[in-house]
Assembly symmetry: D3
Homo-oligomer: 237 residues x 6
Amino acid sequence: MKKILVINPVADSRWNKTDGDYLKKIAREGMVVEVVNIKKGPKTIESFYDGAFAIPGILKIVREIKNQYDGIMINCFADPGLKSAREVCDIPVVGPGESAIILASMLGFNFSIISVKKNVIPMFEMKAASLGLSKRLSSVEYIDMPVSELEDNFNKTEKAIIEAINKTIKQNNTEVAVLGCTGMLSLHSGLVKRVSIPVVEPAATALKALEILIDLRISHSKTGLYMTPDVGKIIGY
Amino acid sequence: MKKILVINPVADSRWNKTDGDYLKKIAREGMVVEVVNIKKGPKTIESFYDGAFAIPGILKIVREIKNQYDGIMINCFADPGLKSAREVCDIPVVGPGESAIILASMLGFNFSIISVKKNVIPMFEMKAASLGLSKRLSSVEYIDMPVSELEDNFNKTEKAIIEAINKTIKQNNTEVAVLGCTGMLSLHSGLVKRVSIPVVEPAATALKALEILIDLRISHSKTGLYMTPDVGKIIGY
Amino acid sequence: MKKILVINPVADSRWNKTDGDYLKKIAREGMVVEVVNIKKGPKTIESFYDGAFAIPGILKIVREIKNQYDGIMINCFADPGLKSAREVCDIPVVGPGESAIILASMLGFNFSIISVKKNVIPMFEMKAASLGLSKRLSSVEYIDMPVSELEDNFNKTEKAIIEAINKTIKQNNTEVAVLGCTGMLSLHSGLVKRVSIPVVEPAATALKALEILIDLRISHSKTGLYMTPDVGKIIGY
Amino acid sequence: MKKILVINPVADSRWNKTDGDYLKKIAREGMVVEVVNIKKGPKTIESFYDGAFAIPGILKIVREIKNQYDGIMINCFADPGLKSAREVCDIPVVGPGESAIILASMLGFNFSIISVKKNVIPMFEMKAASLGLSKRLSSVEYIDMPVSELEDNFNKTEKAIIEAINKTIKQNNTEVAVLGCTGMLSLHSGLVKRVSIPVVEPAATALKALEILIDLRISHSKTGLYMTPDVGKIIGY
Amino acid sequence: MKKILVINPVADSRWNKTDGDYLKKIAREGMVVEVVNIKKGPKTIESFYDGAFAIPGILKIVREIKNQYDGIMINCFADPGLKSAREVCDIPVVGPGESAIILASMLGFNFSIISVKKNVIPMFEMKAASLGLSKRLSSVEYIDMPVSELEDNFNKTEKAIIEAINKTIKQNNTEVAVLGCTGMLSLHSGLVKRVSIPVVEPAATALKALEILIDLRISHSKTGLYMTPDVGKIIGY
Amino acid sequence: MKKILVINPVADSRWNKTDGDYLKKIAREGMVVEVVNIKKGPKTIESFYDGAFAIPGILKIVREIKNQYDGIMINCFADPGLKSAREVCDIPVVGPGESAIILASMLGFNFSIISVKKNVIPMFEMKAASLGLSKRLSSVEYIDMPVSELEDNFNKTEKAIIEAINKTIKQNNTEVAVLGCTGMLSLHSGLVKRVSIPVVEPAATALKALEILIDLRISHSKTGLYMTPDVGKIIGY
């Protein structure tokens, strides 16, 4: 029996149940999945600013529970706090953005990320570049809808995503689509039937990446990038 | 119940049993693993030349069995035939080289590949470059021992690998080691206890990567790089 | 008369006075420089973890005072919160890391960054890469001394920095040195006399970069990467 | 008197005569050119799969004749077996794809490759990337016609190629065109009169590249990438 | 009191007065700016050919006056002679092209350069690449007007530049515009009011970059790229 | 009968005879080779400064004779004036630096350039980068001897070059050596017998590259990078 903690890095508990149900179905047998959210921070993450206020809450949880779980998943495509979380624990920590982009790179020559507002374009171009995959990213598309409205009208959201995917297939010969927001997870099963290329859902991908790490009993190196910091220097948190 | 076929791309059945035992232990519950080898081809793969004679045999198997399995693993770090195998089937196909290098990139800033003879240096530098990970590859080390001798004297081989890992830790601040030959798999459990950085074993990693793909019901795109070829044009095979 | 706010992103006021004195001497005539520190956060910034706890305090200050100043400097080589600060204001915001690395690229073919602990190697390799300057960074050197001890024994610190510079000159033909910590600023005037290559001090460089932006009346674009976020979504801060 | 062997890597002798006539006209005085084809393998090469079945036949010829010739040309833009052929011989081996792309890079800022079916886009993007010339490749265009039909209607094929060249000139300011299939060689002399930019014909270019190597008495290094393999390990071929 | 020499690298004195007036307004207090032009060379610089004939005149001035000034600015976006000028003097030398491109990289994710004739596209793509900023350059636009006509009809020129900026905003989500010719400087103040993104004027930017270097008392390294050459070997100049 | 003009870009005729004799031996039958030098300019080219004074003389010759020859070779590894010469003529123009580096990239995974003084390191690193071959350049070595002394003591020079080659073989697993100065051409035939890797001589390579272009009747594109400039704007030359 292994235990995974999924941290929803938003100060809102409303997705805990649905995300938990979704991820539990995807988890391998014997893998216990729990979902928590942070107490202080943004309601959704759509900017560096939002991310900045999410990270202290994430790290607080990571420090408190790291001995009770076998792995941690930070449930947001922007991967807020991924590096600092790895610094403060030895158990594997994964993020949907990194996991999904890497998986997509194995499925075809190029991929496109479909996300919410216009600022995602530079944001995810930079994320792909930091993973060495700039040349494989054919485009970042945005549906011009904030995260909070994704679930207001499923049909409208699905239609917008399908249009974005078809646009990049036509313009860029895109071979793989990556949903660039974990808030789109409930749309995934419908989408795969309506487009002609594979569609990567990042939350599920991150969960599976974490299972691999746990099952292979391997975690991030602690000798360089993720060296354990002196955590006793923080005042006021 | 899902079924994976592991293809040992060598004309030698002697590793089928041990590889099968090793991989079955690593496979998740409900995943059936079978190992076969090719009938014609090289005894081991240590050059582009060896790889070239392995690929027709691999593709022959892939074409014959692709409807009977849920995924295929080509069991050699050089990933011979990975692209052409993906062309001729719809089910996921993975290779230990690609899988292990990508996993290593998630575990630290840089990684070193430890392999057999000197020609692996340019060979794996090129492999990392093709994955966009040149800057993350701190070095390729070789122990100057052919694949066929890896198991002659376990202590000697283990010692050589540990020396190579410690050398690159010292010279390049390497944070993660990748075993650059699936023939080193039996040494992995011993190695992890004797070095200070994580050690990625590629065969196990590839198996787990394949499980992810199967469990996520996703496979490579068929609209571009891996477009299905006309297979009726081959004469004499 | 123009006004610059320097934010020391540490929960410690002890550097405010010396940093202020140093920067006021460097500022052009007519440029008023004020230094403040954050109230909650790390005592020093030496990890992603430290940075994570510094950013909310930085952003709080930026939001409160952005109409009272002509430019903002975040006084730490790691440039914590640089991107999110630019999101929430229209006035120019600079960081010593970005400014110093870019300046160094204009002074020679390659440069080395000299900083504190071993984890700076991947951290600053990644920073240079994100600025497109990987090939120009000849090495990151560390003197293995925490920020808090830099001023304990000036001679010892200076000696360690000089040794690091001379090492990279010899090994890498390094043409320019960049001090990789704003806590080294008081050592700069002594260092320049003792080494054979130019030495970039990042705090002074950032101040000058900010003066340029203010004097050219130009600031970051608000149409993409630094688009203004919805700041009303943060709970509990 | 020097001798070049041109290997048509297809199991079809029908191009031997015309290719031989074409190349003999281009060869310098004193250079004897012979063309052979492989006995087993694909009829044309349009996928990785096709290439895989061509390579053993190529290598068989290379091994048998390498002492009787001064240089070898593998006559297909995909350069099948180029690396492995270099491993098993000391005399120079060239391929039209590598030769033509490199030549194009000397003739202008950017170039476009015009080839047959859609899957050539990722295939040749990857080839350019492996040569370090990604930024110079302005596009890969395809005329959506299989190799076997290129000669069915010369006017139609020529028209399609001219349209592709003019499209990339207009869209990408392309300065140089590269014919991305040696099956287009008979069209070259007509094309150069009908488009406004230089057109590189890869078979002729490869022949000339090979002449250079022979005349300079230089060949590939045998100390690394192309180290001679143990060829005694192949079973069943 | 510090003195800057601005070298107009054209054999025409007609811009000296207006450039001087413009730059003096931008210079910080206490910075004396003088403008001279070369005696022999091109009337304007619009090709590598033009640049080649400008450089000897630039270097002649640099050698003669280098002890009388604190810094030198070569006033042309193409930065002719920047490297060789740095070789023959110890005082800082800047160019508008390098300075403006680097500044633009700090103001947004991507930038576009707006310049004169079609050949600027590859020319400035190569300049951005040499600065490591290829990925940040979203496009090079040209208004198809030679330098000599830029001031013939200000409204027409301004209109053409605005159209080019709006085109790249729409097509490439460009966040920052860089004027790719110092001959456009008089148009800058009007342009900034008429477009929605920041516009970098390179001559002013270079002047400010030079002030930074002078005020920080730092100059280019003389130990590598800009090592002082033996200047006694030139015959006939 | 085809005619090649070799331009020695130095104001010294002493190498014309020996270079001519050397190149005539290498030229294919029917290729007439003439060597001239520039009248004004540097005695040797060892810096950007030297190059700057060589280029006007080169361009003067190119413009005067371009209708009388079939191709032009600028005989210096630094390739001075290569781009501007291509602008002002339609016949092919080659340089030894570009030609030799490209050839070396076809002969092995990596190559090292062996040249004269320390400043060649950044100079040729930048040249390789501009050709997209940074990753293939394993090192630049210098023998610390000015061009003018290369022929003073052949044994000493040869010994220094061999030591440099052996050093980079050992340290960097270098597979190919490139002589980084055309002044080393007389040493080439001796060197190839004394080192274990192929040695590329750039003058011979450039001549052969030019022969290819002439024989293929192809030259650089005139629609972009090498667009013909208005040559009537130069005053005083």
